[in-house]
């Protein structure tokens, strides 16, 4: 099995295929349907033994760095408008890379306005694994 991160970007990926309005302009029922799709997807993966984790992130983030010896950390932001905005992620544990692609494709079909798939780009990143014992 191999673990993959499915990263959901609001911005920063390839150009979207479908030009849809931001979610706050959708009809409430459309938002509900979208959320339900995500929950159903996660529940289905729990059922197949492939679900590891899923989290949503607040859109506002702050950049932080070391401030130098004895000084407080330096912050920059908060930024609501960065080039790349990560909205959340899901971690899956699957048998093959092909299966990871299949699941990412399914998640990307979540419905948007008029109940049509939004075709959003998801970023798929493999986890580094533990080192195998037998190497030579």
């Amino acid at each position: 099995m191999a673990k993959y991160l499915l990263l959901k970007h609001y911005r920063g990926g390839p150009a979207p295929l479908v030009d849809y309005d931001p979610m706050d302009r959708w009809a409430p029922t459309e938002i509900d349907a979208h959320m339900q799709y995500m929950r159903d997807f996660a529940a289905r993966l729990e059922g197949t033994g492939e679900y590891v984790d899923g989290q949503a992130l607040s859109p506002e983030g702050t950049f932080v760095r070391y401030g130098g010896d004895g000084r407080p950390p330096v912050t920059d932001g908060p930024f609501a408008e960065t080039k790349d905005l990560i909205a959340g992620w899901m971690v899956i544990d699957v048998e093959t890379y092909e299966r990871a692609l299949e699941l990412a494709g399914e998640l990307s079909a979540a419905p948007g306005p008029d109940g049509k798939p939004i075709y959003e780009w998801l970023e798929l990143r493999p986890f580094l694994t533990a080192a195998p014992t037998v190497a030579e």
Partner: protein, 384 residues
């Protein structure tokens, strides 16, 4: 009684339930519940007859479960006809469980999970922890695996090749996964030992020898901070000589029967490494010969890649690079091997670049860090 001993009883208890008429999935669940109860109560109140205790508790649990189900009458008829525990068929039952848990209809990960639970006697939580997934996910994986094999008749005759699938699963347990509360390498060795004693098979012995010989190096394989130490740089005084002796003896007994297989050949290579008091005393010529055997037995590109390393040691870097040309560059760790051989050939700039490429392509953290350090070391040399 410690937990490890307790777990050795699990497959036999499941076997008793199945012989009394329980189906595999329900029996296995019942035994798991008995196990969890044993883990909670035995430390304070150990039973005089642990196996009898587990069997009784698991059987009661099974009866409760089946009563709760709809087919009450039919099942109770069977339950009431409870036969006494007959003459011991433990060994046969236990082997049957191994075959069932490694059934070819299961994916490798499902077979691993089911084996660890139904014959290893680990709890779902322990298995989930070893593979870094939530317990609920692992529970689902196990129950799906049980559904997949539910149509397999328990006493179906084993086919040739069934043992090979069991050994493959045990090899995966040994080789992959993280070590948390339960040490998967120890667990794989324990189970392989059991299979070896039940089957008298050369390849089972070969696999056991392979595991013992690799396990012997465990203390030397990592620095205290967890960095990978390559074989050539390991402190050989930290290798476990008892495990090596057992591994070598197990291997020799298997090889003497003249039915070579891939695990025996792999173990032979590990034994030749174990035999060298210092890295530069390694018998690389013999190792190359074993890789040739292994190549004939498996037709595995990874074998040809490792063979190229051995050829490089036996006949020099140019010979190694020539051997590498026979390997498909998409094989994992190809670039790392190319970097190593280029460095040995004195092409330091190229080697440094290849180590960097190999680090970016590495699929595990320890290897990536190791390769990054190799690249950094060469860049340092090149700067003068």
């Amino acid at each position: 009684m410690n937990e490890a001993l307790l777990r050795t009883l699990i497959p036999a208890v499941t076997g008793v339930l199945i012989r009394r008429g329980a189906d595999f999935a329900t029996a296995e669940d019942a035994v798991q519940e008995a196990l969890i109860r044993a883990l909670a109560t035995w430390p304070k109140d150990p039973p005089a007859d642990p196996k009898g205790w587990l069997t009784t508790v698991a059987w009661r649990k099974f009866v409760d479960t089946t009563r709760a189900e709809n087919s009450r009458r039919a099942r109770e008829a069977r339950v009431e006809a409870e036969p006494p525990p007959g003459p011991t068929k433990d060994t046969a039952d236990t082997l049957q469980l191994y075959f069932l848990c490694a059934h070819p209809s299961l994916t490798p990960a499902s077979a691993v999970a089911l084996t660890l639970r139904a014959v290893g006697g680990l709890t779902t939580r322990q298995i989930a922890e070893a593979y870094l997934v939530p317990e609920a996910t692992m529970a689902q994986r196990i129950s799906r695996a049980k559904r997949t094999v539910s149509d397999v008749h328990f006493d179906e005759h084993w086919q040739d090749g069934d043992l090979a699938t069991v050994l493959r699963v045990l090899y995966l347990v040994f080789n992959e996964g993280y070590s948390g509360e339960v040490d998967l390498a120890d667990e794989a060795i324990r189970l392989t030992r059991q299979v070896t004693s039940m089957t008298d098979d050369e390849e089972a012995s070969g696999l056991l020898a392979l595991m013992l010989l690799h396990h012997a190096r465990r203390a030397a394989r990592r620095t205290p901070d967890g960095a990978l130490v390559p074989l050539a740089e390991q402190d050989r005084s930290r290798w476990d000589t008892e495990l090596i002796a057992e591994g070598v003896a197990t291997l020799q007994a298997a090889l003497a029967r003249d039915r070579l297989g891939e695990y025996q050949a792999q173990a032979a290579i590990a034994a030749l490494h174990a035999d060298a008091p210092k890295a530069d005393e390694t018998d690389w010529v013999q190792i190359v010969e074993w890789y040739d055997e292994l190549d004939r037995l498996t037709d595995n590109p990874v074998v040809r890649l490792n063979r190229a390393v051995a050829v490089g040691e036996a006949d020099g870097a140019q010979a190694g690079l020539a051997a590498l040309e026979q390997v498909d560059p998409v094989v994992p760790r190809y670039t790392a091997v190319a970097a190593y051989l280029r460095e040995r050939a004195g092409e330091l700039a190229l080697a440094a670049r290849l180590y960097g490429d190999a680090a970016r392509g590495a699929t595990n953290l320890a290897e990536r860090d190791h390769l990054t350090r190799q690249a950094a070391r060469l860049h340092d040399v090149l700067r003068g």
